[in-house]
């Protein structure tokens, strides 16, 4: 073992209580950081995933302007053909066409306004979780039958069950009166009241007939396996539709602008908190190292008089901090990962959390994943700032006068 290293190690344990306390501060912050960051990133992933999976998908092809204005006449012409060609060119099954309109739905004793989506019954389940959430009856059968699936709250409010008839009233693409009688084939329950109360799906072909769409629709929805693939698919889809004037490709970020900003807003407040924790640890380290240098003034004076350079002493002090920081890093990361792991197995929740997380499509119990990056990033920052705060005590040694130092009390 190198002599400087051995000296540093021994110096560290001269005041074992002080070193333990400083290590304690590091470990405490590190454990907290590891757990919080893992929880955060786990939640963000779930938030994005759960929100996009409901209906949005990772990207959509729409008519220009439709995203913000949702006007009936901002259509994608020959939408089924476009979806089929994209499916072929992207070599991807998860591509589905959709058309949307507002309409009144009446049963024998109630009338409600709702959004009607015309979907491809065979493909919709590849891009949306709603077909899988049908609780009673069945999802739309393939083909263009006069069938409808509605949300559970709407079914309760309309007082209809599967097999009952519902009348749809609305206006078609050309502004003319559109009406149809459809049979309820299934009732879905997403848990999101707005959807359960205000959404219904019918077969795309049927939708196009009723609303005089002439083969047009509003969105081609494309779902990716993950966010990385989504970025790639967006690129390629943009190239593929480039020669269709009036069509644009929006990625999930543009379709759900609130999502990334909600994450950003949450992150900025979280980073403020993390920053404070790191600063407090840095103060702890600064205090400890400064004390340990000051109390060795005489000792340093003597070794400097014997010919050791201030730079070497400074390196010794930094090495002490590095050793301590390393222990804090390893201890904090390991303990933090263990804490996170425990919650990964048992789930994390606090009173009231179910109410708050439902807004962001999150479950009431979160299982934070243990991953490498969230585990080391917090402790790394703590390590870095510990080293920075040791600079002052280390550099001070350059101004040390050996003779005066030896006389110091």
């Amino acid at each position: 073992m190198n002599i400087t290293l051995r000296l540093a190690w021994r110096n560290l344990w001269r005041h074992s209580r002080r070193t333990w306390l400083t290590l304690g501060a590091m470990a405490f912050s590190n454990i907290l950081l590891v757990f919080m960051i893992s929880l955060q990133f786990g939640m963000y992933g779930m938030m994005i995933d759960n929100t996009l999976r409901v209906m949005t998908g990772h990207l959509q092809v729409q008519a220009e302007g439709y995203k913000d204005e949702h006007k009936m006449r901002q259509t994608v012409p020959d939408i089924a053909e476009l979806a089929a060609s994209l499916r072929r060119d992207l070599e991807l099954e998860r591509v589905a066409p959709r058309a949307l309109a507002f309409a009144l739905a009446s049963s024998s004793d109630r009338t409600y306004g709702l959004q009607i989506a015309g979907v491809d019954p065979a493909r919709e389940s590849l891009v949306s979780s709603i077909p899988g959430l049908v609780r009673t009856g069945n999802y739309l059968a393939a083909g263009d039958a006069a069938e409808i699936v509605i949300g559970s709250v709407l079914a309760r409010n309309l007082r209809v069950g599967t097999g009952d008839e519902v009348t749809l009233l609305g206006s078609g693409l050309d502004g003319s009166f559109a009406a149809a009688v459809v049979t309820v084939s299934g009732i879905f329950e997403t848990g999101v009241v707005e959807l359960d109360r205000g959404l219904a799906e019918v077969p795309l072909g049927f939708f196009q007939d009723v609303f005089f769409m002439e083969g047009a629709g509003h969105q081609v929805v494309i779902a990716a396996r993950d966010l990385d693939e989504a970025a790639l698919l967006t690129e390629r889809t943009r190239e593929l539709v480039a020669d269709n004037p009036g069509l644009v490709v929006h990625d999930w970020d543009a379709l759900q602008p609130g999502l990334r900003q909600a994450i950003k807003a949450d992150m900025s407040s979280a980073f403020f908190m993390y920053g404070i924790l790191v600063i407090l640890v840095a103060f702890s380290v600064l205090n400890t190292q400064l004390m340990s240098v000051l109390e060795r003034t005489r000792e340093f004076g003597i070794v400097m008089a014997l010919g050791i350079s201030p730079g070497r002493l400074g390196r010794l002090v930094l090495l002490e901090t590095a050793l301590m920081g390393f222990m804090g890093f390893v201890g904090g990361a390991v303990l933090g990962a263990l804490v996170t792991g425990w919650f990964a197995a048992n789930g994390f929740s606090y009173p009231g959390m179910d109410e708050l997380t439902a807004n962001f499509n999150l479950p009431s119990r979160v299982y934070p994943p243990v991953a490498f990056l969230p585990t080391v990033i917090g402790p790394l920052v703590v390590y870095f700032f510990s080293m920075v705060s040791a600079l002052y005590p280390a550099l001070r040694l350059n101004w040390l006068q050996p003779v005066e130092a030896m006389r110091a009390a």
Binding site: R17, T22, A103, L277, F283
Partner: protein
């Protein structure tokens, strides 16, 4: 006794400044910690306040009264049994800050080009202007003028989506109690703006009597909204309303009408406490460290004082007082720093870069931090009480030294 206290005080104060670098670093740490506790809490309070304020404005009211079936099935079939005239008689002169009886039903609005699903409100403009934000948020045109007004006021975003304009006609469709389609043409007379896009897209307002006629419901309403003195304490208002109205209605405070916000308010207090304690724990390591060092380098001196007859309790008091002084200075600096940073920001912080994200939380893009005395006291109390507890161990050890051993210690 006073003499002794004075000695302890002088000793503690001088000891504190013996190693001024260490003391200053520790004071800085305590100050930053306390500042962060208070500052962060004020920001969070401001955000929650804003969410609740706009939530209560959009509901609207602190307490609402409905037919028991209305919340699950918001239709004209679930009208409040008492007539509007009876309700008004019972609500009048009760000293409520504001109240309004209103109609609130789902409807479809159709312009020449587009249709949208919306919530239609039939209101008495004279009463409703004190309950909702709409009267004060008219961006173009005018607000409703009377309950017989046959114009319609809607949000700017909805106007754009419908591809229509002020002064143009639209058709509203809903149902009457017999489930026949109830429809009527309206002229758009006013456009309002709201903080949340969702509000602009889904809320439309008409004169109460006009809407009653369209829906063929006579002198009946679906909802009573009442504003009380304080949104934090709505239970007395709820009880008062339950007492003066019949049993066949449901009287609910906003905390239950919007459970997300209600929970937010409750969770907030827990969050403040957890955040304060976490910061303190991070601080406590440094505090204990400082005290342990301070005692350690004075072992001989403490031994000497004990040998000369100073009572152990005085040594304990000395160390504790030293710690208390340090904490007190840190608290004073941290609290004033928090005050100095929050007060200039109370005019509002523009955080519109994450505006749409905040909208998901239900907050607007200008943040008004709120400094609550209770939060400041909580932060200060936590630091003082836990600080004293943390100092006990080093102080106790100092007072237990054996004089002879301590003096001879190198």
């Amino acid at each position: 006794m006073t003499k002794q206290l004075q000695i302890v005080w002088t000793l503690a104060w001088r000891n504190l400044w013996r190693n001024h670098r260490r003391t200053l670093i520790m004071i800085a740490a305590v100050s930053v910690g306390v500042w962060a506790m208070i500052f962060m809490t004020a920001l969070m309070r401001g955000m929650v306040n804003d969410m609740i304020r706009s939530g209560v404005e959009n509901l609207p009211g602190h307490v609402q009264v409905h037919h028991p079936g209305f919340r699950d099935d918001p239709s004209v079939n679930n009208l409040i049994p008492a007539t509007d005239t009876e309700l008004a008689a019972r609500l009048a002169d009760r000293g409520f800050r504001a109240w309004s009886t209103r109609i609130n039903v789902p409807a479809v609005i159709t312009s020449e080009r587009e249709s949208r699903g919306v919530t239609l409100y039939g209101v008495d403009p004279a009463r409703d202007r004190d309950v909702t934000f709409v009267a004060d948020s008219i961006a173009a045109g005018r607000y409703l003028e009377s309950i017989d007004d046959d114009g319609l006021v809607l949000g700017r975003k909805l106007l754009e989506n419908l591809d229509t304009d002020l002064g143009k006609r639209v058709v509203l469709m809903s149902q009457d109690p017999d489930n026949d389609i109830a429809d009527r043409g309206f002229r758009i007379v006013g456009v309002f703006e709201a903080e949340l896009d969702n509000v602009e897209e889904t809320m439309i307002f008409g004169g109460k009597r006009t809407i009653q006629q369209m829906l063929r419901i006579g002198d009946r309403v679906t909802e009573v909204a009442v504003v009380g003195p304080d949104y934090r304490d709505v239970e007395p208002l709820r009880r008062e309303l339950a007492r003066i109205l019949d049993d066949d209605v449901e009287v609910l405070p906003w905390t239950e009408l919007n459970t997300y916000l209600g929970t937010m308010l409750r969770v907030m207090d827990g969050f403040v406490l957890v955040w304060t304690v976490v910061i303190f724990l991070a601080l406590s390591f440094g505090l204990v460290n400082t005290l342990v060092m301070a005692v350690f380098e004075r072992v001989r001196e403490i031994g000497l004082m004990l040998a000369l007859g100073m009572r152990p309790v005085s040594i304990l008091a000395q160390v504790m007082l030293e710690s208390l002084l340090l904490l007190a200075i840190g608290l004073a600096v941290g609290t004033s720093l928090a005050w100095a940073t929050i007060v200039p920001l109370e005019a509002g912080i523009d955080i519109s870069i994450v505006g749409e994200g905040l909208e998901m939380f239900g907050a607007s893009s200008v943040l008004y931090p709120e400094l609550l005395l209770a939060d400041v006291l909580l932060a200060d109390a936590v630091v003082l009480i836990l600080g004293i507890l943390a100092s006990l161990s080093p102080a106790w050890r100092a007072s237990r030294y054996r004089p002879v051993e301590a003096i001879t210690k190198v």
